[in-house]
Every structure is written in C-alpha cells, then in structure tokens.
Amino acid sequence: MDLSQIDPILLITSIMVVSTPLLFAAIGEMVVEKAGVLNLGVEGMMIVGAIAGFAIAVESGSVIIGFVGAAVGGAILSLVFGILTQVFLANQVPAGLALTLFGLGLSALIGQPYAGIRPPQSTTLDVPLLSDLPVLGPILFQHDAMVYLSLFLVTATWWVLKHTKTGLIIKAVGENHEAAHALGYKVVKIRLLAIMFGGACAGLGGAYLSLIRVPQWTEGMTAGAGWIALAIVVFASWRPERVLLGAYLFGGIGALQLRLQAAGANIPVEYLSMSPYIVTIVVLVLISARKSNAGTAAPASLGKMFHATN
C-alpha cells in the first residue's frame, strides 16, 4: 500500500462531498425527531429524492430545478408518512419502515428510463481570489452550491432551535405533547410541518448523490445512507452542531475507505466497504451504554402517538 497516493487536500474536499448527502438527511431527521416523531423512512425519502431530482433535472435541463423537485418529492413522500402517523395514528416504526420499502420500489419504477443517462453538468461555485488560495482554497472555496447550502441549513437549524420561538415550540411539542396541546399549540400541524421539512432535506440529500456526487442514476444508489443519517442523529444527541460533526465523521470514514481501496490497501475491499456501517453500530452501542446522558438527550415524546382527547 502506498499511503503517499492519498493527497490530504483532495481527501478533505472529498470528505465534504461524501458527507453532504448524510448531512442533509440527518439535519432534516433531527428536526423531525426534535418534534417528537421517529421517521425511519429516511432511506426511502432519499432515494425518491435522488430519482425525482435526477429525472426533473434531465427533463428540464437545470440542476437547480432538479434539486427543487427533489425537495418537493421528498416532502410529498414524507407527507404520506405524516398523514398515516399523525392523522390516522399509525405506529411510527412500521410506517417508517414501510416508507423506506415503498420509496425503494417507487424510485426503481420511475428510474427505469433514466439508467445510464448523464445529468446536466453542475458548476462549482468558484469564489474569485479566495478559491485560488493554497490549501484553503480547494478545501473551502471550490465546492458546489449545495455543500454551502447544507452548511447554511445546519447553522440555520441551530439558530432557529436555540433563539426563536418557532424552535422553542418544536422542542416543546417533542418534549411533552400533552402539555404543548394544553397550552394551545397545534401538535399535529407542527409535527406535519417538521416531517415535511425532514422529507425535503432527505430529498435534497438523495439528489446530491444522483446529480453531483456520482452523477448518475442507479437503482438502490443510496445504499444505506438514510440509515446512517438516522444513526448520526442519535450519535449527535439531537444537537445540530454535533450532527455536522457526525456527518463529516461518518462521511470521512466513507471517503477514506475509498481512498484506501484506490491506494491498494492490503485488506480485502469488503472490510473497507463495511467500515462505515461497523462504525455506525459501534457508535450506537457506545452511546446507548452511556447511561447518564441517555435520559436527558432524546426528546421525551419521541415516537409516541398523540391523540387530542377533546
């Protein structure tokens, strides 16, 4: 193995690219869980976003319209989940799992005619002068707009949750839906909006895969990214800044294993491909073993059904 083949600057830029879909999906799911809803359908919403964004970008010839379409597609799919769980009071766990399976099937169906096509080219956002800086230039200033949007979204989520009444209401609904209802907040409506935000974010994450990172449509191309996003939310103990850290950590392991494969590391490729998933499992075990913090981190009403009694 020749580690000198791994260029640290290129590695870091590729980490940002590999992590961005995870970051989108995870920050969206975090908001959903903050509102007290456990949507296990992230994987399904991502892949539907991936094909919706791809198809719309190909048909319209615009990557931007593609991303908008992906967000709308993800939100619509999440609304199916939302109506099932919030209006018809279906259990959130099977409904979320069903959403994943449904999304995988639906995307495969829609994607039939799009296999093997190249999407319209996306441009990177070259900031004049800044992007020419050595080292920092390629790392910070030569990405596509979506990378910056994902970082902006994390910052905005952090700010809204910490400093605005909207954020306080979302947290209140997730913490104690009975009390929030008693204070006159519309629990179901707030949760539906949060679910749709989560769906839109997952859709963007999926479209980032099919339009920028790969860029191509293949069936099942999310390959478990949605599950990793769910793990990141728990890893982050429902905090936006830690979601960023988690997404870059998990994405970083993914990027690194690709580089190691390319560098001809003396380990079977399968082990390297497994590594992000193994890390996910290990991290989840470590976190749930940390008993002292477990009681305070998760929103207290997470996954519970809410039915207004009067």
Binding site: L168, K171, A172, E175, E178, A179
Partner: protein, 510 residues
C-alpha cells in the same frame, strides 16, 4: 368585597355532553372582580370540563359566557389568554428538558427576548414572594417550584381571572401558606381566582364563595367561611360521609424492620434513598408523608422488590428479604400497590382479569404447572370488583377504560384481597372521590385488625393523620424518625417534611 365589585365572568347554562355522560348540565355561576371563588365537587362532578370550557380547551354544546359584560367564546386557549384568563394546571403542563424562562415563554403570546424575560421573571417572582431562577432546568425542580413556574407564567400575562386546578395537592403546609399569601395579594389587586380543590379547610380559609357541583349540575352555592367542612363535604357527596373507624388494637411483634436502607435511584431525575430505618408492628399503620419526588417511588420499589438492596436492609418476620424480587416477596405475603396506576400498577391495555393475574398468580394459586387457571383468575377479578365496588361493565374491560378512581379501587383491592402480612401502598386514594377513599382507607384498617403491617405513603396529610398510628416524612431520600401520629401539629409535620422546600435557597441572585 363581592357585594360591591362588578361581575367579571358570568357563566350561563353551560352544557357539555360526551358520549354516554353529561359532563356539565346547565351550569351557571358568576365571579366578581377580585373574588376568590371555589369550585367544589367529587371526581367526575364536571369541574375539569367546566374550567376547560372557560379556558377554551373544550367547546360547550350550549350555553354562554360573558367576560366583563362582553360575550366570551374562547375557541382556543390562546383566545382565552388574550382575554385575560389564565390557568394553572393540576398536572403541570411543563417541559422537563427546557429551562424556566423557556417554559414561561411557551405560555406567552409575544414573549420578549430571553434576557429581558429572565429579568421580568425575577421581578414578578420577587413581588409575589415566589423565588425562582429563570435559568434552571424544570426537570430538576421540586413540585412546589414547578407550580411557581406555572403561576409566574400566568402572572406575566397580567390575568383578570386565574384558574387554579388543585394547586396544593403537591405542596408542604409551609408552601401552601406562601401560595395563599400570593393569592390573597392577587385578589386584593383585583384579580379574580377560580379555585378548584377537594380540600375543604383550604377553601374555608381562602375563598369568598363556593359553587358546588355534583354529577355535572350545580347543587348549591355557599359562603365557605360560614359553613363547616363537613357540611360542604356532604353537599358535595350528597350523602352522609362514612369516616373510617379505628378499632382499638394491640400492636403485635415487629413484622417489618428496615435498617440502613440505601438505594441509588435508577432515574436521572429520581431521588436516592439514604440510610432509611424504621419498624412496623403487626396491626400498625405507618404513614409516610413528604412532598412528591422526595423518594416515595424509590421507597416503594425497595419494599416491593422492584429495586433490590442488601439482603439485611429489609427484614420481614426476622427473615432478610432485601435482595429478593417482587415474586419471591409476594410468596412471603409482602405486597405493594404503586402510585402510577396506568403502566405501573396495571397494564393499561390488558383486561382486569389479566391484571388480576399479574400480581395475584402466586398468592391466589392461579397457575398450574405453568398453565393459567382462567376460571380461578376470573373469579378472583370478580371478587375484587365486587368487594371494592369497582364500576365497570365487566372484568373483561381493559384497565385503561376505567376512570382513575375506579382503577385505583381495583389495584388496591387486588392487593388487599390477597391477605398480605405486609402491604405497602403509595397514594392509595389519589384521584378517588370522598366516599370511595373512605372505603379504601377502611379496608386498610381492616387489614391491620387481622394482624397485617401496613405502610401508607401519601401526599394527603389529612389521610395520613386519619389512619396512621405513627407518622414519618421523606425529605430528599431521608426518612425522619417515625412519631406517634396522635397529637402531631401541622407545624411539626411541616418541619418533618423539610420545611418549605427550597424556600430558603431562593436562587434569586443566581
């Protein structure tokens, strides 16, 4: 003052029916500005529904309300708050993981920025003698402090009418005094207070007038200062009260001996038990008081076997049982009924028959080589329903479908009928109406006359004084020395309970 003050709220013939039950039927009353008005009634009398209509949580089927002469039809709590009606809930509508200021901001229409709000919270809390630190996490507060959060949340809106739903059920006597001072001050400033309570003595000291509800109808109005508590209780119940009688009994040998029991709590917000010592003799009732959250749940768990301690920490009839689990203790006739009815004492979605089986299997011989004897189980469940007057269409109904009071009768009755030598109950009459509560207390006393040792953990001091032979109080996981209940004064009890909880450390400068 109610003679001269103008009317604030007039409730005119409000009616609200739910499927199968009329919660309120043609209820009318008026509250004057600055008046403290009591709403009295048993469980299920319709008090909660009535105040929910006033607060906009429930819409009346018919009838009308006027507030300061204007028609008043709140469609949601927000509208009620905008009209100057505020409410302090019986089960606090607070968020454990948020801090005091955030909790208060959630109850306001246009909360100022956090820093400014924190300043106003300090200001109001000092004016009304309700010390509170805006930065502290609500999950770490005592029940009394939590109630202050609710009250300050209401006061910041400058309400004209403050509704209080059983505000004193979780407070020490000293905290009650502080609350009453606050309420009197508010009333003197012209804020009307609608005060819901079972506690007649409180109503007599605090309230200017009272409306008494029974089965959804107004049965009487009175001036509580001119009535005896007993008269009001009888108006409420509509029959003569049966007060438990205590037969003179000889105390037998020591049955339960707890020595140096220390258990750390499994819950992040729980209280650890520290070095608890007491003895209970055959035929004796030990009453354990204390403000909620001072180790009551943990003590019950340690006695029932849900949490295990060192073997020698608990002796029953000379046998060390501290490390035995619940079923092993049941087979030794040590039984317990925890406070939380749904989810702890009973499995909500299982039928009463199945719930009877869950704790009765061992003592009542309801299994045979691992198979269930359903006929015997059904008979046992029916016996509980029959003896404790549990009102349900039948034993096949889910525990969840019973009202709180009826389920309480079931879970206490289920243990009492298993002929325990030791019975530990937490809040045996919580949410049970006066006559059923008397029946439950009587059944506990009957047990002692058969030689059982009974430990009653409760927050209702009147109840403890009524049935206990000796009294002790829990404070932050420590148990005071048990003292004979007879002759204890309220002040002494308050001191045993740890004084006004958190009053001295006012944190106002934090």
């Amino acid at each position: 003052m109610s003679d001269t003050a103008p009317n604030l709220l007039t409730v005119n013939a409000l009616t609200k029916a739910y499927p199968g039950v009329v919660a309120n039927s043609e209820v009318s009353f008026t509250i004057a500005e600055g008046e403290v008005h009591a709403l009295l009634g048993e469980n299920g009398a319709g008090k909660s529904t009535l105040v929910k209509m006033i607060y906009g949580l429930v819409r009346p089927d018919s009838g009308s309300m006027t507030l300061r002469g204007q028609p008043y039809e709140p469609s949601e709590p927000r509208a009620a708050r905008a009209s100057g009606v505020a409410m302090v809930f019986q089960h606090f509508s607070l968020f454990d993981a948020l801090n005091v200021a955030e909790n208060i901001a959630l109850g306001m229409e246009n909360p100022p920025p956090q820093r400014q709000l924190a300043g106003r919270i300090r200001e109001v809390s000092e004016t009304y003698g309700l010390p509170l630190d805006p930065e502290s996490m609500v999950g770490n507060l005592s029940a009394g402090e939590r109630q202050r959060v609710e009250i300050i949340r209401c006061l910041l809106q400058d309400p004209k009418l403050l509704i209080m739903d059983e505000p004193t059920s979780v407070l020490t006597p000293q905290e009650v005094d502080i609350l009453f001072e606050t309420l009197k001050k508010l009333s003197a400033e012209g804020t009307a207070i609608l005060y819901i309570s079972h506690k007649l003595e409180e109503i007599r000291t605090l309230c200017d007038s009272a409306t008494i509800l029974r089965l959804g109808k107004v049965v009487n109005t009175c001036n509580p200062r001119e009535q005896t508590a007993r008269d009001m209780a009888e108006m409420m119940v509509g029959e003569t009260l049966h007060v438990p009688t205590r037969e003179a009994r000889d105390l037998g040998e020591v049955i339960v001996k707890v020595s140096n029991l220390s258990v750390s709590s499994e819950n992040a917000f729980g209280t650890s038990l520290k070095d608890i010592n007491f003895e209970v003799r055959a035929g004796e009732v030990l009453g354990i008081g204390g403000v909620a959250g001072n180790g009551q749940d943990e003590l019950l768990s340690a006695l029932s076997g849900e949490t295990r301690a060192k073997a020698g920490a608990v002796h029953v009839k000379g046998k060390p049982v501290g490390d035995l689990g619940p079923n092993e203790r049941r087979s030794l006739a040590i039984l317990a009924a925890p406070e939380e009815r749904l989810g702890h004492a009973a499995a909500p979605d299982m039928s009463l028959i199945e719930n009877a089986l869950l704790t009765g299997a061992i003592r009542e011989n309801l299994t045979h080589r691992g198979f269930l004897k359903w006929d015997a189980v059904k008979a046992f469940a029916d016996r509980v329903i029959e003896s404790f007057d549990v009102r349900t269409p039948g034993a096949r109904n889910a525990a969840r479908s019973l009202s709180g009071g009826n389920l309480q009768k079931f879970v206490v009755g289920r243990e009492v009928l298993q002929r325990p030598d030791v019975l530990v109950v937490n809040q045996p009459t919580w949410g049970v109406d006066a006559s059923a509560a008397a029946a439950i207390r009587q059944s506990l006393l009957d047990l002692t006359s058969k030689g059982a040792a009974v430990i009653v953990i409760s927050q209702d001091l009147d109840e403890l004084m009524e049935i206990s032979d000796r009294f002790a109080a829990l404070n932050e996981g420590r148990l005071s020395d048990p003292r004979p209940a007879q002759g204890l004064t309220v002040d002494e009890i308050g001191l045993m309970m740890g004084g006004a909880h958190g009053m001295e450390v006012a944190h106002v400068d934090a």
